[in-house]
Amino acid sequence: MKPVLFLVVTCLAVAGCQHDESADRSSETSSESAFSSRYAALPNETTLLRNATVLTGTGEQLEAADVLMQDGKIAAVGNNLSHEGALVVDASGHWVTPGIIDLHSHLGVYPSPSVEAHADGNEMTAANTAEVWAEHSVWPQDPGFVAALAGGVTSLQILPGSANLFGGRSVTVKNVPGRTVQDMKFPGAPHGLKMACGENPKRVYGFGKGVAPFTRMGNVAGYRKAWIAAADYRTRSEKALNGDGDAPLRDLQLETLVGVLDGEILVHNHCYRADEMAIMLDIAEEFGYRIASFHHAVEAYKIPDLLADSGTCAAVWADWWGFKMEAYDGIVENAALVDKAGACAIVHSDDDLGIQRLNQETAKIIGAAARAGMNITPGHAIRWITSNPAKALGIGDLVGTLETGKMADVTVWAGDPFSVYTKVSRVYIDGALVYDRDDPARNPVTDFTLGSLAQQGGAQ
């Protein structure tokens, strides 16, 4: 990991973060260098995708446009490009978009096959497990990664589950096959902290184990107690650095929470109900941190103004509803109403099948929105699954659009990505061709699926 890169990303992602101070703290956080990324881009060649419909991820739709990828970066996007020595790919009739980014996945921590021995996503032993890291549970051989690749996904955030008030640290990975999670870790991506509102902590602890929290007010008391402890830990650590007293014994749980208070770790908050999201925003204000995104924000459409004001993204499904009480008011137009109010809308999966077709989930919202009189262009909608999740993950400066200089994470579609009939043709990650539907023999196969009758030589 390059420290300089890390700081740039962190500060862009956190509004008002104090550059110099957080730089100092960041270098002192002992967890920061642990389990660092060993991601290395696969071999790439300079490639010119020619004559495609291009959704840039910045809101634009370009016709008959070209995309030049060089040295793993987007080198140019425009009409009639040429580059000597570039491999030219005729993309006529195809659409090119930034690689799809899933803000909410449990691939690797709840892999296929979903057997008990693999259920490593939810440390349901205490309401606060901010000390656990999802990356320590990721099984890189999960066949879901390759299936997601065939769905155009180039980066994803893998989160702990939602049983706990504080579920632990998330990890953002590049969707490249690796032997270890370190091979996949997105270089420079900040950690996330998974928090959860509502029914799950209540059910698992109060109802399930007879310990706090038993109620939503118990949930809130739990968050506040933890932030108070974290602030105290930070103060004592800082004092010790200045020669005032002994440093406290290193505490992994508090270290994660301090990372949030310092703006180095981004909060991703599972929260369905509008009223609870409003409470969580107030808690963040009370303790001086920011919530990067609400996940499963089924009722975000009821408070888009609050989300716009706080700069917190709402990550939603297209149509999941009714599986529990806090999901009862789900409507398909949710993301469109959030977007209409000027807040940041994201379509996420939380599902190993859904991640393969985030484009289709988005298309359903476009259709429902049109019916309600909201016209959402393809160029705009693609942001919900590219640049907006990149922003929420603190990697918006590196990926999520096809702007010059960004990582060449690119998905090529056989046609309009918002058609149910369209499939992904090619996926490039850092300029390297990692998936080609027309060349099954070259596509990745996990150890687990190797030799299966359905595998037929590549991703499906």
Binding site: S112, P113, S114, V115, P143, G144, A147, E199, Y301, K302, P304, D305, D319, W320, W321, G322, F323, K324, M325, Y328, D329, G330, I331, V332, E333, L337, K340, A341, D352, L353, Q356, R357, Q360, A363, K364, I366, G367, A368, A370, R371, A372, G373, M374, F418, S419, V420, Y421, T422, K423, F448, T449, S452, L453, A454, Q456, Q460
Partner: protein
């Protein structure tokens, strides 16, 4: 009702809403100008007319005369299809999965098995009914759930109970076929329910069949207490004996190819009509299924090895089954069931994207499920003499952005409103100075 803001569709919707108050079903209705995909012998017809009288389709075609007194629905530029049928699920038997009092598709304890009849628990006023029917779903198979243990601590049995078919209209006669099939669990779930072995699940099923056969031929002796002890209660044996007599079908929930083969052997041994549901690895035994004439209700989007009985999941299964001549419907899986049964259009579209001809994709969510449950003389296609259960779409129904502009069930125009459209319209009015509760 709050006004929609889209100009074209809104006008159309309002015009139709005005008609709902009138008793449309008692009159002649003419839907004119649409592209009609009949999914019947007439195929697809451009600029066609559908005539409806007393809730029944009386004619479909190009050169029909509009009866003078007919109520006209102008559908120029629209697409008309049969109403969609969700082939397996629990619509009307659940409101919120995690709220126990609303869940009626599974029982705790072991009082009933094959005879557990959920039809009387069906609630036509469930929010799931309106939400799914305005998305084009007009018929549903409602059945006990096969989960070995659900999140509320309920558990099923190898013989889970009876499925029925309902229409999703407002009329009281919603039951189209009560007890159309008995549901059974084999494979991993069945094994779990049968103390750990899939072989034991098959043995439970065979023993129950033998008992039901004996019971059916010796009812009087049974009533007089002169028969051996059976493995099931009187209610359950009665339910199962109708399977043996061919009056109802046996739905077997199974995924692994070898489990499907074992189920087919059982169907042959007892000469019963079987339906496979799940069928993840059905493509491996497609020829066997075709020979046996056993249809499949297919999970068409599950392409991951989610369990060891689904190692060979793939997206081309629908296309392979079609090619092999196996009858199949799509839906009934976690992706397109109950609350989101409406996603069967997407499931069919994905099957089409993976090699299934478009017309067969539409059939897989209309006529095919009707045929599989033996109701194709009443529903499943737009044909003379069948129920007028149909949908007027703005575009290709399998496209994700498409939506029904009007749904008709039994000749009646369904109000195009649900709890979700009301929530949407309330929060669309963001400019209102009053809190949402006053909008």
């Amino acid at each position: 009702m709050n006004s929609a803001t889209g100009p074209g569709p809104a006008v159309f919707a309002l015009a139709l809403t005005a008609l709902i108050a009138a008793p449309v079903c008692a009159e002649v209705t003419a839907i004119t100008g649409a592209t009609v995909h009949t999914v019947g012998p007439q195929g697809s017809i451009e600029n066609a007319m559908v005539l409806i009288e007393d809730g029944i389709v009386t004619a479909v075609g190009n050169d029909l005369e509009i009866p003078v007194d007919a109520r006209r629905i102008d559908a120029v530029g629209k697409v008309v299809t049969p109403g969609l049928m969700t082939p397996m699920g629990q619509i009307g038997l659940v409101e919120v999965d995690a709220v126990a009092g609303t869940v009626d598709f599974i029982q705790r304890g072991d009082q009933f098995s094959a005879g557990f009849d959920v039809a009387d628990a069906y609630n036509p006023r469930s929010s799931l009914v309106a939400i799914n029917r305005i998305a084009g779903i007009t018929h549903a198979v409602i059945a006990p759930d096969g989960a070995s243990i659900d999140q509320l601590g309920n558990y099923s049995r190898v013989l889970s109970g009876l499925a029925s078919v309902v229409h999703l209209g407002d009329a009281d006669d919603y039951l189209l076929d009560r007890g159309v099939a008995v549901i059974a669990q084999l494979g991993e779930t069945g094994g779990d329910l049968a103390a750990g072995s899939r072989a034991a699940a098959l043995m439970i099923l065979r023993t129950a069949m033998d008992d039901a056969r004996d019971y059916a031929s010796n009812r009087d002796a049974f009533e007089q207490g002169r028969r051996r002890t059976y493995s099931l209660s009187h209610t359950d044996l009665a339910a199962l004996s109708a399977v043996l007599s061919g009056e109802r079908k046996l739905v077997v929930d199974v995924h692994r190819a070898s489990d499907i083969s074992a189920a087919l052997r059982l169907a042959g041994d007892y000469d019963i009509q079987m339906i496979i549901v799940g069928g993840t690895e059905a493509w491996l035994v497609a020829a066997e299924l075709a020979t046996a004439g056993v249809p499949v209700i297919l999970d068409s989007i599950g392409n991951l090895p989610g369990s060891f009985e689904r190692l060979n999941a793939r997206l081309e299964t629908a296309a392979i089954l079609a090619e092999a001549g196996v009858k199949f419907a799509v839906g009934g899986d976690s992706f397109s069931q109950n609350h989101n049964a409406r996603n069967i259009t997407q499931a069919a579209g994905i099957a089409v994207a993976n090699g299934l001809p478009w017309a067969e994709g539409l059939a897989a969510i209309t006529l095919a499920p009707a045929e599989i449950f033996g109701l194709d003389e009443q529903i499943g296609s737009i044909e003379q003499g069948k129920r007028a259960d149909l949908v007027i779409w703005n575009d290709d129904p399998l496209k994700l952005q498409s939506y029904p502009e009007q749904v008709m069930i039994g000749g009646r125009l369904v109000p195009m409103e649900s709890r979700q459209t009301l929530l949407r319209d309330r929060y669309l009015q963001s400019e209102s100075p009053l809190p949402p509760a006053f909008r």
